[in-house]
Amino acid sequence: MIVTPGGAVGADLLPILWVAAIGIFLAAAVTAVVPRLSQASPALSTAAALLSLGLGCGLLLTGASISWSGWHALGFATIAVHYDGLSGAFLIAFGFSAAAASLSVVGEQPRSRAEGAAFPLFLGSILLVLGASNAFAFLLAWESMALLSAFLVVGLRATRDVVSAGNLYLAMTHVATASILIGFALLAAGSGGSIDFSAWHLAAPALSPVTRDLVLVLVTIGFATKAGAMPFHSWLPRAHPVAPSHISAVMSGAMIKTGIYGLIRLAIDIVGGSPDWLALLILAIGAVSAVMGVLYAVMQHDIKRLLAFHSIENIGIILIGVGSALLLNAKGATELAALALTAAIFHSINHAVFKSLLFLGAGAVIHATGLHDLNHLGGLGRKMPVTMLAFGIGAVAISGLPPFNGFASEWLTFQGLFGAAGSGVLAPISRFGAAAAIGALALTAALAVACFVKATGVTFLGLPRTAAAAAAHETTMPARVAMAVLAAACLVLGLAAGPVAAALTTVARSTLHLGATAGGAAGGAAVGSVASVTATPQAGTAATYAALVVGLLLAVAIGVIVVAAAARSRAAARRVDTWTCGIAPKPAFQYTATSYSKPIRLFFRRILVPEREVRVEYHPGTAFPSSIRYRSEITLLLEDRILRPAHRLGISGADVARKLQGGAIQLYVAYIVIAVLALLIWAR
């Protein structure tokens, strides 16, 4: 085990953390299948995830990196890992998500013993993906992660819907892997057959532009599919909702981030940048994913499907950061590129925290009521105050409201875009792309507010819409603790935006292979102090967001108003029924999730293409309806226009391939003869 640079305070402990985390994940997997020890498995996973979190923080704080290689016995390849700052940043995202998810199921019985064991192995495989430093280790960990997550989604006793969601996920994740594999093969060929990432990095400048662009396109497709970016997203809103909530939390919080990690590692760290058109394409993918993701999310009334679409949105926001970093880096605006990349990494961590929180909140709601349709919920806040508060904080954070963490990273993303739009070195089309992305990001943020007012309000406020919702109860103590910790993290990461951004800027700069100190004169990078984060989009001018001060001001202002109102009179408010035009209030009078999203459904009808069907049946011979059926659906344009045709093409391609694979032995002999003849002619 090698630690570089040695001697940093505490850096010597990092390998121990890593080995312990791996070991404890394995122990958690083993205990899960031993009948009398299975209760200990989630607690062990929690511990291992916390060690990973510690490892991530340690890598960031000490600036050290650890590497190890071994398992030469395999003969043809070795496992090599190298954890640096970038790994550390994503380990923090992973650690928060995995620790909270594992903690939330302490004391719960998993659906089956095999699933209990697969969960810690899945977590361990993510830990490995984030540090793998050669193609063999990466693909081994990557594929384990894909297969284990697919198994966790489907489980052992699955219904047909779940199996079909799982199959789609498996198919798409393998398209992703195949695409990455081809990209890796091209890189290996270009570096004399080496599978080490470091060798690829050294050989990258010598690659022909065509090969380099092809590699970049392939890895972008592969990693964007894993990340769930549009138009490669269709597996995500199907797979996330059917998995148990703590698994959705890790998939959404940590697993899809490995796609972002992979893209940053390959495109920026190893290959060292992309052509303008691809950077613009990534920016466009980000903008489209953000806007369409949140639009579809607003339309959902299944709480977990809603959250799944929000993952697409947030991946979009992250990709806007990555895209602008690539654009700026290619033109030498490196400080600004570091700013944009910092934003992307920061948002990855933030999304891991609040999305895991929201999925655990959704899990608590489903646990308490057995329902996941928002239109059947309502009024849960009375019965589940802790869940409501935690979910509310997650909702505020994901909506990008100050002083929580989502705002801090969106602020940085905006600053990167402002810098790109005003940058003199960028091509006009790139500047305009950045300008348009500003509008897309603003629209996304506002729609996220709409969506989370809806999700929080319809679930927790008002009157319960069903008996099951009325009989809700608070979730288990470990799950409440897990949510409380994540909610606190949303606030702390928001208020500490300055130091966090400063640490992540160091990571972004080293990922971009810049020197250790900020250039300053060129203007750009995020500079954090204890209380604030400053961005310098153009030379000589800076903008500052003092998160701590804004948070304090807000708290003081709210406190003064509350105290003033309380001081005005101490008498309790008179309580009456809600005014419903003179009749007794009924839960059915309330706006449902579907009615709440109606204005947005109509405003964006050209994109959403809503379909509505109202069928009324009457008592014979009267005007009194006996039954009214209402159906409302939106059209998923990208799926219909891009993915389904691609799917059909794939199927017809497979049909052609099947004709080649006739099954008759003579046919195969003929193929061999043809192949041998062709080879002889070619080699002559």
Partner: protein, 319 residues
């Protein structure tokens, strides 16, 4: 921060807090009076908004049986967010009282916080009207937000910073030379956004209680007593802050550039005067055009986004 900087910050903060809070109901009154005159009514007196607020503040609220802590504390969150935003926007001087602690994105974010609070509170009582107002408000704001941010992005790109003080100072230095097409398009877009964000015609009717048309009022329907006073005052203050933001970003002329009593006093008078002009503009629009159907909002507010994007496009393509 040196001693004089601290003194300036403290002084400007106190000045802005007092003038904005006192001025907000007055601005609301002038709009109502002008609107009434244009409709051949006498209208209420200048002090009516103050009397309303005092009356509500003195009353014990009536709460719904269905509602809980969200409805009770959300008004404080809304007003708190807008008061915080008020201190981050330049008023009398070409710098925000709390300069360097938050830029225009923080102000936009605080508006969103205020909106989140009131929209969520409207769902707490289980009233159909609350849901109606809340759902419309968040949808309209979603359409307005790109216009708001893109319009401000135009001036931010020109000034090279999202800091509102920097933007104001830049505007004052460049003077009328600033008033190119990019600037005017962005200003027009911002004007539309002010209408949408403060609930004026043709987006919303600030005086209606007709369920088919109400947006903002729908959310206030279940609020009473102190809560109502807080929410109404927050809305009045929001107009003042938006108007100040408009002046600071697009027409900063008159704002003090040196921190001396004379220029600051002048800047304050000019700043409040500009707000009154904006208010009169809103009253004129209120009185002269019809309220549009909610279905027309995408066209109206999409126009704002397109104007702002065109402005920003001109700015970035022809620097």
């Amino acid at each position: 921060m040196s001693g004089s900087d601290v003194a300036t910050t403290v002084f400007l903060t106190q000045l802005q807090l007092v003038t904005f809070l006192v001025f907000a109901p007055f601005l609301a009154a002038t709009i109502r009076i002008t609107k009434a005159r244009l409709q051949s009514r006498r209208g209420p007196g200048v002090l009516q908004p103050y009397r309303d607020l005092a009356k509500w503040w003195g009353k014990l609220p009536v709460e719904s049986n269905a509602s809980g802590p969200v409805a009770r504390y959300a008004p404080a969150f809304m007003l708190g967010a807008i008061v915080t935003a008020a201190l981050l926007v330049p008023g009398a001087a070409a710098r925000a009282p709390l300069a360097g602690w938050g830029d225009l994105l923080v102000v936009v974010g605080l508006f969103a916080t205020a909106r989140f609070a009131i929209a969520l509170a409207a769902l707490d009582s289980g009233s159909a009207f609350g849901g109606m107002g809340s759902s419309r408000d968040v949808a309209i704001s979603a359409l307005a937000e790109p216009g708001l941010v893109l319009a401000l992005a135009g001036v931010a790109v020109a000034a090279g910073s999202t800091d509102l003080g920097t933007i104001s100072a830049f505007g004052i230095i460049h003077g009328v030379g600033l008033l190119g097409p990019a600037h005017l398009l962005a200003a027009a877009a911002f004007g539309i956004v002010i209408i949408a964000e403060t609930g004026h015609y043709p987006v919303d009717n600030p005086e209606t209680h007709l369920e088919l048309t109400m947006v903002h009022e729908g959310m206030l329907l279940e609020a009473s007593g102190r809560s109502l006073a807080t929410l109404v005052f927050a809305s009045e203050l929001k107009l003042v802050v938006l108007a100040a933001l408009f002046s600071a970003a697009f027409f900063p002329f008159g704002a003090a550039t040196e921190m001396a009593p004379g220029p600051i006093a002048l800047g304050l008078v000019v700043g409040l005067g500009k707000m009154l002009v904006i208010g009169q503009g809103l009253a004129l629009i209120d009185a002269t055009i019809a309220k549009a159907r909610i279905m027309a909002m995408p066209d109206f507010l999409g126009l704002a986004s397109l104007l702002a994007l065109t402005g920003l496009g001109i700015r970035v393509l022809m620097p």
